[in-house]
């Protein structure tokens, strides 16, 4: 759950009920169209990563680490 900054209000019962909304979408099938788009995005991200490595001479320094 939200482990936010400076103390989130915790409401486990309510958040559990809300999480069931996500559980519902997890049960739904993913269409071939969505699967194809997801695959295309993975490929595009991989290509962007390679380009970035090429431009920076091999080091991957972009981005704010989580």
């Amino acid at each position: 759950m939200a482990n936010g900054e400076s103390g989130p209000v915790v409401d486990p019962e309510l958040d559990k009920a809300l999480s069931e909304l996500l559980a519902q979408t997890e049960k739904e099938p993913i269409s071939p169209r969505l699967r194809a788009l997801a695959k295309r995005l993975e490929t595009a991200l991989e290509e962007a990563r390679h380009r970035r490595r090429g431009e920076s001479g091999g080091g991957d320094t972009a981005g704010n680490r989580r």
């Binding site: 759950m1 939200a2 482990n3 936010g4 900054e5 400076s6 989130p8 209000v9 409401d11 019962e13 309510l14 958040d15 009920a17 809300l18 999480s19 069931e20 909304l21 996500l22 519902q24 979408t25 997890e26 739904e28 993913i30 169209r33 969505l34 699967r35 788009l37 997801a38 695959k39 295309r40 995005l41 993975e42 595009a44 991200l45 991989e46 290509e47 962007a48 990563r49 380009r51 970035r52 991957d60 972009a62 981005g63 704010n64 680490r65 989580r66």
Partner: protein, 157 residues
Amino acid sequence: MSDDILRHIPALRAYSRALCRSVPDAEDLVQETLLRAIENAHRYQPGTNMRAWLFTIMRNRFFTNCQKSARERTGAADCISLVPQVKPEQEWHLQATEMRAALQEMPRHYREAIILVGALGESYLDAARILDCDIGTIKSRVNRARSMLRRVLEPAL
């Protein structure tokens, strides 16, 4: 290293339904989001929150669509004004539950906040970035949304 985009699809669906409130529109929005992400893949910063990045794209796309709809429809003040035109059977299919009904009733900015933080587990900080507002506003919206839901659901919880 490869990104597993498929695992984000359920969360994208959940958030798109918080925005659109109609399953067909929400499914279209998920597709549009992935297409926009493909076009802008070079903008993603490796190591940052991929799901939050996709949520941001989705939200921007949603509001672009709203503006387009408003221009095309005479008298359409905003996207929310279009909601009553959605047929009941098209609405999010668990609407019958009290939780879903309560979410449907609350203003969109509260619904977005509670879905992102409460249902999807985004941090306040990432939710603030996605919704383009400050963290105090997010906390306030989440607390307000929780109060609304709890008031409706109190007997069940």
